[in-house]
């Protein structure tokens, strides 16, 4: 089987279910208006004291799910994921059995199952099969569980599997919910912020967790996207730091190499990147590491933002959700404000957006980093009406 980088691979804008809204349009609108989903939560099943988080109201989720035509018994996470992929199913469902793959991206899936020591819904392959069966993809689903880069790495895996000839199209569905399992873990690291997270800010004290689902359709058939904004995946890479399992490399080595490789494959210079949708978790180490890597890449003057101030850190969804929003904003020639950033708080310069910018955006760099030393970079280029 011959793989060819010459086969171009495309993505459309995708869709998402977040506490900001159910559906792409609502989310883009809120992000463009600088609205955050982070609020003070009182939820005893997560913590005995109030905490900041970006959580989906369970009653709203139930209501919206009951309005859909989806039949079956599902966990809240599965409902989020099914609602996120619904518009893709409507539009491209007829292709779901023509060399169409399904990639499910999640770190912990239905982890709440373990609270009762019940394994019946713990397994990620079960979650993926349920999604596949419900939306009508017969091909065995692939679960990607690679910490906080899972969502963006899924796009990279989809592209590679199309270029190697296994699939013509890939549906990606990402989801992670707000769980005591993860919240208590980040608390034990003293990594949870007492206020809504402030990526790259001097006063940042850590992360705010969130929950969301996102979906995207990836294809080699450009014709499918003729009438809608779409992007070509120009280059991608995921290089491990080989430094520490729970902290990033101080020099940003893995991220630096990931972006360098992606640029090389894309055959473009760093100067051609218009905007960076970065990881920006608001921990001291992560944001500093990104500043190191982006300066080594001479990308420090490029407009850069983190969406964690809007959605919190949504773990295995984050990379996909942030790509959906980044491409959505780019399609409208907008660069969103990086919420929470007031005073520069990393030791090297970065051009973090303090307000929304309206300008032509053609090339988008999306990056993410995560536990286990993982990093991913993917470069997207606008096609369609804006093609030069």
């Amino acid at each position: 089987m011959e793989a060819s980088t010459k086969i171009p691979v495309y993505v459309q804008k995708g869709d998402c279910i977040t506490p900001l809204g159910f559906g792409f349009e609502k989310n883009i609108e809120k992000v463009e208006n600088g609205v955050s989903a982070i609020s003070l939560n009182e939820a005893n099943h997560i913590d005995s004291t109030p905490f900041y988080g970006a959580t989906i109201n369970p009653f709203v989720l139930e209501h919206r799910f009951s309005e859909s035509n989806i039949k079956g018994v599902f966990t809240p996470l599965e409902k989020m994921m099914l609602l996120a992929v619904e518009s893709i199913k409507k539009k491209y469902g007829k292709l779901f059995n023509e060399k169409c793959g399904l990639i499910v991206s999640s770190t912990k899936g239905n982890i709440q199952a373990l609270e009762n020591d019940d394994f019946s819904t713990y397994y990620l392959h079960q979650l993926a099969k349920k999604i596949g069966k419900t939306i009508g993809i017969d091909e065995e689903p692939v679960v990607l569980s690679n910490a906080c880069v899972s969502g963006i790495m899924a796009i990279s895996v989809a592209k590679r599997m199309i270029q190697v000839g296994r699939y013509d199209h890939v549906v990606i569905v990402a989801g992670d919910s707000f769980s005591k399992f993860v919240f208590s873990g980040f608390q034990s690291f003293q990594a949870v912020a007492e206020k809504p997270c402030q990526p790259y800010d001097e006063d940042r004290t850590g992360i705010t967790l969130g929950e969301a689902a996102a979906a995207m359709f990836v294809t080699k058939d450009k014709k499918l996207f003729q009438e809608i904004p779409h992007f070509e995946i120009l280059g991608d890479s995921s290089i491990n730091d080989a430094n520490h399992i729970s902290g990033p490399s101080r020099t940003g080595e893995g991220l630096y190499r990931s972006v360098s490789n992606a640029l090389k494959e894309a055959k473009i210079n760093a100067s051609e990147i218009d905007v960076i949708s970065a990881h920006g978790t608001a921990t001291n180490y992560n944001d500093e590491m990104e500043a190191q890597a982006f300066n080594r890449l001479q990308l420090e003057k490029k407009p850069l933002y983190s969406l964690k101030g809007y959605f919190g850190h949504t773990l295995g969804t984050a990379g996909l959700l942030e790509t959906v929003v980044a491409l959505g904003c780019a399609a409208r020639n907008n660069i969103p404000q990086s919420i929470g950033y007031k005073k520069h708080g990393v030791t090297l310069p970065l051009n973090v957006t303090k307000e929304k910018i309206q300008k032509e955006v053609n090339v988008v760099l999306k990056t993410a980093s995560g536990f286990g030393g993982s990093n991913t970079a993917v470069i997207f280029k606008k096609c369609g009406n804006h093609e030069k």
Partner: protein, 198 residues
């Protein structure tokens, strides 16, 4: 040139095999953790961090080391592609029990292992591999996917060599099958050959 399986390691039933040849057998250990510690000592891996690791990382570390230690030189860009069924269920249950029992207080030493790709990170650190890392989950060993993904990494110039395979552990049931694939003469990298070797 074609992509081939150049070496492989199996760990199952208290035994470790390298390229089909039995290189360690412990007849006494009745539990996974006891067996894997004996294997670690037998191969003189001398990596004290091993003792802090969860079951999945311990299994990955022994399997990965058996394959990588036999090489004259380890390619620092060798990609890692692992897969299993149960993610990191053992440490997930330990973390869950600790937060249920201790009013929500967790141990960071456990929490850090509650992601399956940590096993890739541990091997990357030990062998200084700055390379492509991905962890996939399937109901069963999925040779066709692993062949295609490994092929894509090699043919798209993401890596020249790939350490790939299945690494499953749930309490005392475990099975590891790891192999190195690269462009070379030898046993062709395909689904049929992988099914014979696991």
């Amino acid at each position: 040139m074609k992509n081939s399986i150049v070496s492989y390691c199996n760990i199952k039933n208290n035994q470790v095999f390298l390229n089909g040849e039995k290189i360690f057998h412990d007849e006494e250990a009745s539990e996974f953790l006891e067996f894997i510690k004996k294997a670690y000592k037998h191969f003189e891996l001398d990596y004290p961090k091993f003792y802090k690791m969860d079951s999945l990382c311990k299994l990955a570390m022994v399997g990965g080391s058996v394959l990588l230690n036999q090489l004259d030189e380890v390619d620092s860009e060798m990609a890692l592609v692992f897969s299993n069924k149960s993610s990191c269920i053992d440490i997930d249950r330990i973390h869950q029990a600790s937060i249920s029992e201790n009013e929500g207080y967790a141990s960071p030493a456990n929490f850090v292992y509650t992601l399956p790709n940590i096993a890739l990170g541990e091997i990357s650190i030990k062998y200084k591999l700055r390379s492509e890392n991905s962890f996939f989950i399937f109901e069963d060993f999925n040779p066709s996917f692993l062949v295609d993904y490994t092929t894509s990494l090699i043919n798209l110039n993401k890596a020249e060599q790939v350490l790939c395979g299945w690494i499953e552990v749930f309490e005392n049931e475990y099975n590891a099958f790891l192999f190195i694939a690269k462009e070379a003469e030898g046993l062709t990298l395909n689904k049929e050959n992988l099914l014979k070797l696991i």
